[in-house]
């Protein structure tokens, strides 16, 4: 079991980032978080870093390159296509859910209204990924 994940968080909203960091800071394990404010920034990080993240947490509604566009780009890139990606969004829109699954995702999380519920679901997702075997890249 892994105790620390390298996570790329793609999220444009400042308070959402605060929510995420606050949740992470209370977990038993220390994860390494890289933040990107939109799809464009996330791609730059992926293209330029030596090692790939274990997991991408992706918001859908973002400026410049949005979540769906970003997902479609990495799924069509031989080097990046296998990074597990979990969608983190407030939209349970049927079309979004379908499109994401068609492109290939490792999970689709609709952000609950309450912060305590949100924290709980983030913890569950990260705990799950700690138990996974990853391809070394």
């Amino acid at each position: 079991m892994r105790k620390s994940l390298n996570i790329l968080l793609v999220e444009d909203d400042m308070i959402e980032i605060m929510k995420f960091n606050r949740t992470i800071s209370k977990l038993a394990y220390l994860h390494n978080i890289i933040e990107a404010k939109n799809g464009e920034e996330a791609l730059e990080i992926l293209y330029n870093s030596e090692s790939l993240p274990d997991l991408i947490l992706l918001d859908l509604n973002m400026p410049k390159i949005n979540g769906l566009e970003f997902l479609s780009i990495i799924r069509n890139n031989a080097h990046l296509k296998y990074i597990p990606t979990v969608i983190l969004t407030s939209s349970s829109d049927h079309k979004d859910v379908t499109e994401c699954h068609q492109l290939g995702i490792a999970g689709y999380l609709v952000k609950p209204l309450k912060f305590s519920d949100y924290s709980e679901s983030i913890k569950t997702v990260l705990d799950y990924w700690c138990f996974n075997e990853f391809v070394e890249a």
Partner: protein, 235 residues
Amino acid sequence: MSQKEQLLQKLKYQNEQLDDYAHLVSHDLKSSLRSLSALLSWVKEDCIEKSGKESVGNLNLMEAKIEKMDKFLEDIINYSEIGATSLKTTTIDLNKKVSKIIESLHIPQNISIVVKGDLPVLKGDARRLRQVFQNLISNAVNFNDKENGLIEIGVEEAEDFYTFSIKDNGQGIPQEYHEKIFNTFTTLGYQEKSTGMGLSIVKRVLDLYGGEIWVESEVSNGSTFYFTISKKDNQ
């Protein structure tokens, strides 16, 4: 193209735009509401820590309002989606579908739900049909004021269509509201949580299917909602 056709096309386009707009705005507001809710819970934590429990009363009220607003937005999204997304027709066993819906609802212990007889297997869009049954059943549950609540789901078969009924022994609806309740945003206000959208969603789905809905009700004795669904391929 005739003038009438042109007008109709324009109207159709405007309607779609309106749905899209409602959809978009609701999603944005929902995201903001998530931020507000988180910030509020942190303020609440701080308050409890610093000054003891007394002062969080208003914060709890704010929390409840935010919850209601979220439910409201969810309903607007559901309502606007009905016209926007195209229907996907599959074969649905309503016995399975309805028991799944009942399982997914929060039903208090004093209320029992009975399905009378066999429900049919029909062709339709699974999500839309779920919205119809789910909203009617949860209304029957939420507005029930009896010590032993009873909700009965039944069906009668005619040559071309089914008539479904959802009967409760709840508080009933006064005659003057029997038509009004299907209008958007109308709520009789018995329930703090109600948004007034549930029945309009049901009506809109049934309109799409060419079905009808009506209510028979007696104040304090309960209501029965009837609706029809055609047996023909429900496109």
